[in-house]
Symmetry: C2
Subunit: 237 residues, 2 copies
């Protein structure tokens, strides 16, 4: 029989899961080593296939190699954002109007890549392969750990975002750190103290994702908390 | 400035992250629809690449199609466990001794697959591709949602495990539910009320996973909570 304390615990966890937004704007405050240790410990307690624990985390702060890696990554993310801004038409349509969601997103991204080298903590995440790739399920043994990392950061007052933009400079990173060939470089995660606030994430309504009885048939017992905010329908122009 | 309430919240979340074990033994108690709705909502609030939200969840409980899928999956997991038990030598070495960790793991797995059709909830997890596969980073847009699902279940008193053993019967499942070709079937997750207790997960020491300054160089600020339990070193015989 659940107690009131159990209910309070559940509410705290569920609220955290529903309010861990991608955070790309940080203050200049550092991430303390004590907190960083708690965050990384939580990441490494994640599940993985056959409990094989293939996840590895390289933390980039301020040592000489980290500074070189930051410059390599900074150039990489700026080139990626330049390409995405054009390809996704961030200057067209509503993007041309200051204050539109699209224009604000573009401004945040531009600021993020411009200030990339000064982000307090950057984590490169790898997964040791136990068989040759490509293996689309390898992510099941590393991305839960990335989510634990982001949730622990959120709980301790930090925020971050997981990205794949390390891939454009992957070979340089591999050489810089002598990363073994059998390591899949799965993600890059940035961390810092949010300059803005957390607040609820915005997603599509839950009944667009959860089915019962057939693929695409929304389960009839779904519900969302009052005030749930939604993103626009898929395939934005 | 963090408050005492913030510290309490952080402790609850970090404790949940470090105690969400794979649960394979369930009581006969159902997962209530109210709780299931909260669990699935939390899953769908997870991050994904460009907030594309490609994750989809098909919940299998007791409708006619679900019962057929359970039989298909049950046969699949039993064949997978038979193969793994032989390949990994679960009857050899310490596995031959009742009460050894290896023998207990094997007994739990045997019980799990034998009772598979009666597990309260089984969730098939898919991800809609936005480009043709194989794409090893597609997992970054679906496995964080799986982790949210398991963490929300844990917070509400349930437990579960994520597995890939649906893959051996994937074609039958695709036909049964007319799952579109552009959906990557990423995982199967089982859920129920734990027959045993949760308790801390067992992993390798954190300094085997978290590096700074070079790949393989343990960061010098790492620490683990008192009483952290560890698994045996990698490459078990």
């Amino acid at each position: 029989m659940p107690t009131d304390a159990d209910h309070a615990t559940a509410d705290v966890v569920l609220e955290t899961l529903a309010s861990t937004r991608a955070i790309r704007r940080y203050t200049d405050d550092p991430v303390s080593e004590h907190d960083l240790a708690r965050i990384m410990f939580a990441a490494t307690r994640a599940p993985s296939g056959s409990n094989g624990q293939p996840f590895r985390f390289l933390v980039l702060r301020d040592d000489p190699t980290a500074r070189r890696a930051r410059r390599v990554l900074g150039d990489g993310v700026r080139s990626q954002w330049d390409a995405k801004r054009s390809a996704d038409g961030y200057e067209r349509g509503s993007g041309a109007h200051r204050g539109s969601r699209k224009a604000r997103t573009a401004a945040t991204m531009q600021d993020f890549v411009d200030r990339f080298e000064s982000i307090p903590v950057i984590v490169l995440v790898g997964a040791v392969r136990h068989r040759p790739g490509p293996d689309e399920t390898i992510g099941a043994s590393v991305y839960p750990a990335c989510q634990n990392l982001l949730l622990a950061a959120r709980a301790l007052g930090y925020g971050g975002v997981m990205m794949m933009w390390h891939r454009v400079v992957e070979q340089e990173l591999r050489e810089l750190f002598s990363i073994p060939d059998d390591v899949f470089l799965a993600a890059m995660i940035t961390l810092g103290v949010p300059a803005g606030r957390h607040g609820p994430v915005r997603r599509r309504p839950v009944d667009e994702f959860v089915f019962e009885g057939g693929w695409g048939t929304a389960a009839d017992w779904l519900h969302e908390p009052p005030g749930t905010e939604h993103t626009a329908p898929f395939r934005r122009s």
